[in-house]
Amino acid sequence: MSPVDRAAHLNRWRSRSLAEKSVLAFGMMAFALVFPPFPVAPVVAVVMTAATLLGARVSPRTWLACVAAPVGFLLVGSLSLALQVGDGGIGLAPDGLATAAGTTARALACVTALLFLALTTPATDLVAGARRLGLPGEIAEIALLTYRFLFLFGATALAMDAAQAARLGHAGAGRRLRSLGLLIANLLPRSLYRARRLEVGLAARGWTGEMRVLSRRTPVSRPVLALIVAIEAGVAGLGLWAR
């Protein structure tokens, strides 16, 4: 259902320590936000893209499919930043091009950092990490169960959609809308029923309220962390100099 999730599980850096990956991703994201977009944003974008494609060996096809949508949005958004509504109608804003270019560069840099994280680290690792940092256990457990259910419900929704299409439920906007409504109405009780069945299934395994599991954690490699910090120090230095 999610090529991003698959990449997160199968990339070369899957079992690198969560701390290493998140210090890199969140650090770079923060620099892209805080420092002037030029020259920091392009540097961040290059570093994060290289880490994703060359380091973690995520397939370029998957990566490209992921950036396509944000880039489309950015083009439309930037256009509106560059323009202004004046008395004489719509025109080019003074500094409009600069604002648009800066915002676009910053956003793209952040997107590459997000993609690095999303494509190398399963979402459940991040939830587990957030829990260690103080996210309440119940909320973390709900998030983990949500993740588990996503794929089940997603597969069901896809099958329902295919079944409706086969019976011409997609012919025409009106029918499409009605079919979608029926699909959602059918999906909801089935989702809740599945939740009840999981409750029975886990009760049989001795569940009494807390959902404890034994997870494997890769320890942080000090040299790698030092390297990451060094790179980030460089980018931060660049940012401070450009200010």
Partner: protein, 204 residues
Amino acid sequence: MEGYLPVGHAAGWFAVSAPFVIAGAVRMRRILRDEPQTKMMLAAAGAFTFVMSALKIPSVTGSCSHPTGTGLGAILFGPAVMAVLGTIVLVFQALLLAHGGLTTLGANVFSMAIVGPWVSWSVWRLARRLGLGASVAVFCAAMLGDLSTYLTTSVQLAIAYPDASSGVLGAVAKFGGIFAVTQIPLAIAEGLLTVVVINALEAS
């Protein structure tokens, strides 16, 4: 959209959203302490909301978009719970689909998991109290929930990027105008869709 808001705005929206999400989480934990099984139901509701928002909704204009699902979610699960579930859904959208983003999470939570559900829920309650039919109430709730979400997004963008000559208001008009073209038909579609869903749920 990841990285689209300047750092001060991104942080500001986190601060604005946090009280709502924390209040929802506190409430949720209280429910869970008494009935731990509810965990499964809440997770199912969250996953359902995620899947629903990933479905494609056809619009009158022939274009396609995604339903926000905030109206249905608010009517079914209540706005306080939706603040937490909506946040979880938005995090997973960013991580699994690369939609939305993490730096803009605060802003997106505010528009999609707080404003939208509260508007839908209030409209729904008000319409029922006024004695409007169930279908009309559901339609209005879902449509206005959808619209308010996108209006909020427009305002968020306008505050971040005020128009050089006409200021924030001009920018609201500018961003709002862009959204209105695509979003009003979609809001109507989402309203109709939600009516179909609620009717079908009641029939079975």
